[in-house]
Symmetry: C2
Subunit: 435 residues, 2 copies
């Protein structure tokens, strides 16, 4: 009975899978152009992933960092949104199997982003918490707050300590930001809201496999971020592999085991590929090999952009970094190229303009690399906030996030530490299945 109910037109049809940074940029660039654009996403909103950690730590409402996809494209006649889960691509028939029926395409773009990579360690996958979507960030928030409530009533010292130890695995921007936010939560919230707890028992660890946190940034940024974290009381452990985690204790390759019921996994991502992409087009980290026009290896009508794409170039022999600017720029270039391809003109090769990288550690503490220009501290923190505010989709979101940040800055509070839905392993499994 269900059918996508897509209007028939004479225009070629471009289907985009995923309403992340790349997908929405591509669609936006094609408004009022001679192509019918169908955007598919399993959610009805775009998620601003860089601020998920603030949702997880009670600094922001989930609604503030998400934006309804239908609203982005309102009034644009050639762009349609459908909420759907894509099950399989059948390239030989130019067809997608989806949860709302089959959809035909003339051109297909995978902008499906990335999922958390547990590197095949199923025990860790089961017991640790990922943070790649709003439901996952909310689960994380609920788990942290539930464990604090549990710690208040736990008599057994070892068990209580495990509830109060927070281990963040992965020293990239997400891990650094999460560890910093937890340190602030400890300092400004736990000390006053949980008088029953011995605040000295609350410990935050950041575990990194390589020699440095923020390995993709400058040595200066790396060093300063570590200093910031340590000033805030985070124990940074580098050169550590996680050997195992059984839900109670995490074993490291080169340090003492840590008792912890809160292990947050930010150690890696892998491309969110879809059934039907041939194996030979898939490379390291589950990314899809594309040429310099973002065309998937072996196809003329299939494209991939953003996190899920691996475009191996001279400057980026392992593919581009999985960050928003790459996805946005690829979306923009591909929009022009699709129009050229339709007109049978030659497409233009993608060239990434790296504008730099930044990460925030906490109040007045951030690190910014803009090419050769590098700075850290309070000015970097303001730059970080400004860039993130400006990149957020929607004026209401900008406004509400700004109000929350100003309020938090002066009050030292985090307003939204509510367990809206209680977390259990059970419910997480369902979310993951249903997301």
């Amino acid at each position: 009975m269900k059918e996508p109910q897509l209007p028939e037109t004479n225009l070629p049809r471009l289907v985009i899978i995923g309403g992340g940074f790349g997908g929405i940029e591509l669609a936006k660039q094609l408004k009022n152009r001679p192509v019918q654009v169908i955007l598919l996403d399993r959610h009805n909103y775009h998620t601003f992933q860089p601020l998920l950690y603030q949702v997880a730590t009670g600094g922001l409402e989930p609604d503030s960092i998400a934006f309804p996809l239908r609203r982005i494209f309102k009034g644009q006649k050639n762009i349609l949104f459908r909420m759907a889960e894509v099950e399989e691509i059948i390239p030989e028939h130019q067809t997608l199997k989806t949860s709302i029926g089959n959809i035909n395409y003339d051109y297909l773009v995978l902008a499906s982003g990335s999922d958390t990579n547990f590197f095949g360690q199923s025990e860790i996958e089961h017991f640790s918490m990922p943070m790649k979507s709003i439901p996952e960030a909310l689960n994380l928030r609920s788990m942290i707050l539930q464990n604090l409530e549990e710690a208040v009533i736990e008599k057994d010292k070892e068990k209580r300590v495990a509830l109060l130890h927070f281990v963040v695995v992965g020293g990239g921007p997400t891990g650094v930001e999460l560890a910093g936010a937890l340190a602030e939560l400890k300092k400004h919230i736990l000390a006053t809201d949980y008088p029953e707890l011995d605040i000295k028992q609350v410990k935050i660890y950041l575990i990194e496999g390589s020699a440095n946190i923020l390995g993709s940034m400058s040595a200066q940024a790396t060093q300063k971020a570590k200093t910031f974290l340590e000033e805030m009381g985070v124990q940074v452990l580098c050169n550590q592999r996680v050997l195992s985690y059984d839900g109670e204790q995490i074993l490291l390759s080169d340090a003492r085991p840590i008792l912890s019921k809160n292990v947050l996994w930010a150690a890696g991502v892998k491309g969110a590929i879809i059934k039907g992409i041939p194996k030979e087009a898939i490379t390291r980290g589950n990314r899809i090999l594309v040429d310099e026009y973002n065309r998937i290896k072996g196809f003329s009508d299939l494209f991939a952009i953003g996190d899920v794409a691996a475009m191996l170039t001279e400057n980026y022999p392992n593919g581009h970094p999985g960050v928003a600017p790459v996805a946005i720029q690829q979306g923009r270039t591909l929009a022009k190229n699709i129009l050229k391809i339709i007109k049978k003109e030659a497409p233009k090769a993608f060239c990434y303009r790296d504008k730099g990288a930044m990460a925030t550690v906490g109040r007045n503490r951030a690190v910014v690399d803009l090419g050769k220009i590098r700075f850290q501290g309070i000015f970097a923190w303001f730059v970080w906030m400004f860039v993130h505010l400006m990149t957020l989709v929607g004026f209401r979101n900008k406004l509400v996030v700004f109000v929350n940040w100003v309020w938090s800055y002066f009050s030292y509070d985090r307003g939204t530490r509510l367990i809206i839905r209680s977390f259990s392993r059970q419910s997480m499994t369902e979310d993951t299945a249903a997301k």
Copy 2:
């Protein structure tokens, strides 16, 4: 292993069940007084119920109308919060059985509020949507948005129409506000965001069992609210009982059946009583009979306030209305009386000061009764907003709600129409069980 871990003191211990309006007012009034107060709630936050309908219809984030209970009482040494589900009261042992272990009390106050009353109609309970908690309001929001997405792809006309018909049962303030908000959603959002839908097929019905909506307000308010709703396109059907609802079609006693997949149940509440209260103390609507000091019939150390209490007086032979001001005033009076009872002084009888009633229908449209002073329209709407903003707990919440309202007023938009967690009957049952 788990234990409430409550500190031993020489003070008498007062346990409060429920962090609603009554419970938090009672606890606040007892700060720094010679009594140990233990506040229990199944959630870690206080919910501002009067604005739940805005969460359900995408106008506000859930975090804006909730406030962490621990934060309300931070720094108050004689008040402790524990997140717990109360399973049973054992009055003869002055003990509570809870999900975190047994808790003894010297005095116990039930401030557990009310649940949705389906009047024993289990089929309606299964298929219609209640809205008494934040998880329920979010389920409602998700269901509405999912049904709209479903309508977009539904080919069968009858099925599509059922997805686009909204039936609100119950013409009290909640039902009126919900129906009004849906009418605004239709007018300002659906028309632009869902170009695929025939907006004329979207219909909103408000069903009321008695002769008038807002029956507890003045005839003037009642009449004007009806006019407002009809101007906004809501079909108001009074003198209608709901005979049945099978998930597809709702049968009414005196009107044609309505096809609808969206039946929102706001037709009644019943006291949220707890096992262990003797039957003879329970009266109509599951409320607990109390004397003029809020003491439960037959006990000297058990009290009930707010929605769950029925204090039958000359002016209120059926008990006081289930509204926030009653709960707050009873909490305040009981605080004084508890201190008197501890000192073996005579308590003072409760006397309700009715400050009036109000309801909002939509933009620039509200009705207010303040004793003999009655007004409707834009000024009433501003009064309604001001009173609700001022009653919201927490400065951040006031600020964020204010910003959202100002923004919505000028943009005609509702920012938060996101399906954060998808709704299914299955997940609802779990929430209800777990709430």
